[in-house]
């Protein structure tokens, strides 16, 4: 339902990703693996439209995605950026409400749903998001993306700087969301265990291109591949 076709892009004249293609099926969870600096984040930003295409394009439901990031969000593309980037001088509730309202959904209902889904945010609802801990901000960034009611969720390094207990919880939440609401997930990660615990299939990136496509079982079995590509 979601595909990136022949993506080439970068910053200024510097090409970071070259000829990258990948697909995520309906309600599928796919991992995007690779070491630091291979272009995972750039690919994610290409997918959202924040990095303009030098060539290639993005398709959502077989249709060409609009150029503007806001248009893609409205077609059902949710994005949790690396480094969280919550709106710091807005309350937790406002962070969620604004995402819902921007896509034509009721903000109040979205906040209520998010607080049910992520009870950890409950006591913080009227605090400024900038004052939350790193893990809480990551949860909030996820809640904010879900408030847009996406059909495909792009997660960029969601476990970075998050304490292990929260990482397990996040994996559980993602699996549940995926199962209950049929939201497809593309997750860029360095944490192999996290990916293996949720994704069925993975793409491995190297130097701005897709080096190979593999399944969870192949990857789990192949220690040499893990060592070679991911340095784990």
């Amino acid at each position: 339902m979601f595909s990136v076709v022949n993506a080439t892009g970068g910053y200024g004249k510097t090409v970071i990703i070259q000829g990258v293609s990948l697909q995520v099926g309906k309600a599928e969870i796919v991992a995007l693996l690779g070491r630091n600096g291979v272009g995972k984040s750039t690919l994610m930003r290409f997918a959202t439209g924040l990095v303009p295409a030098m060539s290639g394009h993005v398709e959502i439901d077989g249709r060409l995605a609009p150029i503007a990031p806001a248009g893609r969000a409205r077609l059902g593309l949710g994005y949790v950026p690396q480094g969280r980037f919550v709106f710091p001088r807005m309350t937790v509730a406002e962070n969620i409400a604004v995402a819902a309202e921007a896509n034509g959904h009721d903000g109040r209902a979205a906040v209520a749903a998010a607080l049910r889904e992520f009870p950890i945010l409950g006591p913080k609802a009227s605090d400024l998001a900038g004052g939350l801990s790193g893990g809480q901000q990551q949860i909030l960034a996820l809640a904010r993306a879900l408030a847009t009611q996406p059909r495909i969720l792009l997660l960029d390094e969601p476990t970075e700087g998050v304490q292990p207990s929260l990482v397990d919880e996040m994996a559980g939440t993602l699996l549940r969301i995926n199962r209950e609401r049929g939201i497809a997930v593309l997750v860029a990660e360095q944490d192999l265990d996290f990916c293996l615990s949720i994704a069925e299939r993975a793409y491995v990136m190297e130097k701005g291109t897709i080096r190979l496509e593999t399944t969870r079982d192949q990857l789990r079995a192949d220690k040499r591949l893990q060592q070679d590509l991911l340095g784990v």
Binding site: V86, F87, M90, E94, A99, E101, L128
Partner: protein, 288 residues
């Protein structure tokens, strides 16, 4: 010093601080929500004043001339944003230069259209007396107008969907777009609102500050400094700095001379910026 005199001086100082605040709020909104310093802010004030003046000369009651001024300045503001400002986001000094140039164009246009001297409109005649002293009522009314204007803008930015979108768009511009906020449209709206607030200020202050092509300049320097000293929590911060600096300067002026008042304003501004290089609100945990 007798209490009547003190009360009179205090009231008129709060009143002139409120007048500065009325003139500042639009600038604070545009800076706080777009990171743009609009050096043509004073000229939007001037346009508002001339719009209200022209409307009253055509026979419209003053109370209706104010909304006319707001609509006209908002429309011009929207055009300016689309034609100039949006090409310069994230380039603070370039926008300052561009809006400064714009201010000169507006000034010259005003000179060409209206001449350098224009008739004022009479101040509504009502007032209060404290003991032997009497004060004109209209400037005192500006205290209430400033409070209402502040409350309105605060509510607009913190209680409405537009306000949330506008704050999101300035705090994380890319992410705001990625979650579906049309930043360009929001920014046009914000700039138009900022200009509309300037237009409102020019119109509502018209009985006190007559419309002249150069009137904007008198306000923009102090308004600009109030916003810069205020820092990131632009609205509450500017309210505080405009009242504090404006009131302090006005008090000093009452007891000494108006030059001393201005000196106090600028020395206090310099001292505050030395103490708080990022503005007094840099560490505040507030939304606006």
């Amino acid at each position: 010093m007798e209490p009547d005199y003190l009360a009179t001086v205090l009231l008129s100082s709060v009143s002139s601080a409120s007048i500065l605040l009325i003139a500042t709020i639009g600038l604070a909104v545009v800076f706080g929500l777009m990171g743009v310093i609009n050096l043509a802010h004073g000229e939007f004030l001037m346009i508002g004043a001339y719009a209200a003046l022209t409307a009253t000369q055509r026979g419209l009651p003053f109370a209706l001339a104010i909304p006319v001024a707001v609509v006209i300045t908002m429309l011009i503001g929207a055009c300016v944003e689309v034609l100039i400002i949006r090409r310069l986001y994230g380039r603070l000094f370039d926008t300052m230069l561009a809006t400064w140039g714009l201010s000169m164009i507006f000034y010259q246009l005003a000179v060409l259209i209206f001449g350098t001297v224009t008739p004022g409109i009479g101040m509504p005649q009502f007032g209060i007396t404290i003991g032997r002293y009497s004060l004109a009522g209209y400037p005192l009314l500006m205290i209430a107008v400033a409070a209402l204007m502040l409350a309105f803008v605060y509510g607009l930015l913190t209680r409405t969907v537009y306000g949330m979108k506008a704050r999101a768009a300035i705090q994380q511009p890319e992410i705001a777009q990625a979650i579906g906020i049309e930043s360009a449209r929001v920014n046009t709206m914000t700039f138009a609102i900022g200009c509309g607030l300037a237009g409102f200020a020019g119109a509502v202050l018209l009985p006190i500050v007559p419309a002249t092509p150069a009137m904007g300049f008198a306000f923009v320097v102090k308004a600009f400094l109030a916003v810069v000293v205020a820092g990131p929590v632009a609205l509450t911060g500017s309210a505080l700095t405009a009242i504090g600096l404006g009131g302090g300067a006005s008090l000093t002026a009452s007891f000494l001379t108006s030059v001393a008042g201005d000196a106090v304003f600028f020395v206090a501004t310099a001292a505050l910026l030395w103490l708080f290089p990022l503005g007094i609100s840099a560490s505040w945990r507030r939304r606006m």
